[in-house]
Symmetry: C2
Subunit: 192 residues, 2 copies
């Protein structure tokens, strides 16, 4: 298997790669995210590509012999609104109030850039998961925000933490909601 580099600082993406027993390095992109798209799946594909491209541009010649760089980006979409990471606890409250009792979509875009003997190939894809939230009381929302587990997450919740209690059901890949569609990612890497 090629040398794998994850272009993400997300501890959840790291855990998912570890869960499927991959060996990899982490390198965090510091490039500015530039969004030129408006459709959710186009946005996450665009941002995942920017991250993977930035890390790829700093690879050494010897790394370009046999290497795969993985970039990923996750957003939450509710009707016409795109929800990224909340800017404040008030913003987190507004997001969770929107999601309460409703169905929203989680999109993760993934870009793979593969180098083999100096030849470069690129592949970008996305996964969408529908998430059904139970109605939430203000008390539940405030308790959750106070836990501090929402500020670093798109849509202001983490399905893998106590916000699991908010989720009635999903339709799609669970790990896509966590931040990386790991099963699809492995399939795409095999087919490269």
């Amino acid at each position: 298997m090629s040398h794998i580099i994850l272009a993400s600082a997300s501890p959840r993406r790291k855990e998912l790669l570890e869960q499927v027993k991959l060996t990899f390095q982490i390198r965090v992109s510091s490039c500015e995210e530039v969004i030129t798209k408006t459709i959710p799946y186009e946005i996450v594909m665009e941002l995942s590509e920017q991250k993977a491209t930035d890390i790829s541009s700093h690879l050494t010649d010897s790394e370009k012999e046999d290497c795969i760089v993985i970039g990923a980006d996750t957003i939450v979409a509710y009707e016409d609104q795109i929800l990224g990471k909340p800017s404040s606890p008030e913003n987190a409250y507004a997001m969770l109030r929107l999601l309460s009792g409703n169905i929203h979509q989680v999109y993760t875009g993934v870009t793979l850039i593969k180098y083999e003997n100096g030849i470069c190939q690129k592949k970008t894809f996305y996964e969408k998961t529908d998430v059904y939230f139970y109605p939430l009381t203000d008390e539940k929302i405030h308790t959750y925000i106070a836990s501090g587990n929402c500020m670093d997450k798109a849509g202001a919740y983490g399905i893998q933490c106590e916000a699991a209690a908010f989720v009635q059901k999903i339709d799609g890949d669970y790990n896509n909601v966590v931040g990386l569609p790991i099963a699809r990612l492995l399939k795409e890497m095999e087919q490269f």
Copy 2:
């Protein structure tokens, strides 16, 4: 909140209760499981009730002032076949071969027995999740069985371990597949 007792030895059920920040004790039922039903959701409800009833029968008078006992049982069903924990690696192989490329159902039955001032109430429910497996090569199945992560799990796989790579998508509650529909459980406890 009442004193909570989990009537299960499953480390995954313990982790799910911890994930939503519940405080609880574990007591493992040693009663023999007696299955008189044939329909999957009836089987898991019956077995969850046996576990909760067994632990309840050993509560002290002071515990019966304010206490909830949680029993749970999970099975995998594929068409007419019920898949529990595999009896051998060969049996695990047969199960995973069946599930490969197909859709199966995971059923978890939960029984809550609540004591308040000596008065006892009981509630039993189940959740069903559809799980869509990618086609699996023999190599993938054998590697997974060799990891030892399949023998203690209904249907011979754990969605929360490296078998995440087998799952294309789910329709329903993810934690129900792990072994406990935690969001529904909290709802039912609140409504008691």
